[in-house]
Amino acid sequence: MKVKIHVTLKQGILDPQGKAIEHALDSLGFKHAANVRVGKYMELDLDQTDMAKAEAEVKAMCEKLLANTVIEEYRCELV
């Protein structure tokens, strides 16, 4: 299966890149845009057919390496 992982800074943690992009959008006239958050997108192939096992494995990957849970949160899609 294909795994899609999004990692972003936790809410409440200042995202300087998001802020810079927000200002740029504003200066381009996109006045309705707010709260820009920048993150990382990763995808990988997982050789696993059992959904529960796959979810557990992906969670372990995120906790151990893909996200730093001191500052980041993650969400995963398994398709």
């Binding site: 800074l9 943690i13 200042l14 300087p16 810079a20 390496l65 730093n68 500052i71």
Partner: protein, 239 residues
Amino acid sequence: MNIGVVVFPGSNCDHDCQYVFRDVLGQDVTMVWHKETSLAGLDAVILPGGFSYGDYLRTGAIARFSPVMGAVKKFAADGGLVLGICNGFQILLEAGLLPGAMLRNESLHFICNDVFVRVENAATPFTGACKPGQVLKIPVAHADGNYYTDPVTLAGLQANAQIVFRYCASDGKVTPEANPNGSLDNIAGIRNAAGNVLGLMPHPERCAESVLGNEDGRLILASMVEGMNAKKGRAKALA
């Protein structure tokens, strides 16, 4: 003393550390490739600055799984001195040997400048040659030095005198203007609860001899050597 300098793929301050400990401070230095699994015979370990694994994913995130890091953890647990400089500090954070994490600099710029730091705790194995409150001028060179931790951990760091260096103005005042990267509480360097592991963003190895016009960094590295020599002397006297 035999000082180990760990070399990760992408370390680039390893030879500066080797030079200062060996040629300036007159110690033995062993370069330790990141695939090593033993640190036997070493008195202290340095994780140098650089861009280990190209800073891919997050700074220090991949280096922390290098084989040598298991040995570094054991070395630290046994009370050995571990110093992480810049990328070395980031690796110590990712490895959980120090609390917290690094965010991108608030300005989003890579900052390469002299900064002032105040010695907040002069009673550590890394600051014994400094006076409490002494102001040191040391260069920084990083894009991710914006220290962050949760409020509970921060309170613990403050209460246990684990904040060893704070960014300050040249007169020692800790102000928001003197904070180069947005670090929480102007934190430039912290130690662990046991006191034998220190991480700092400034580069003391880049200002450790008079020919360079600044010897402030030497105080930190010489503190380690003097402290270990004194400890060995005491152990010898007791034996």
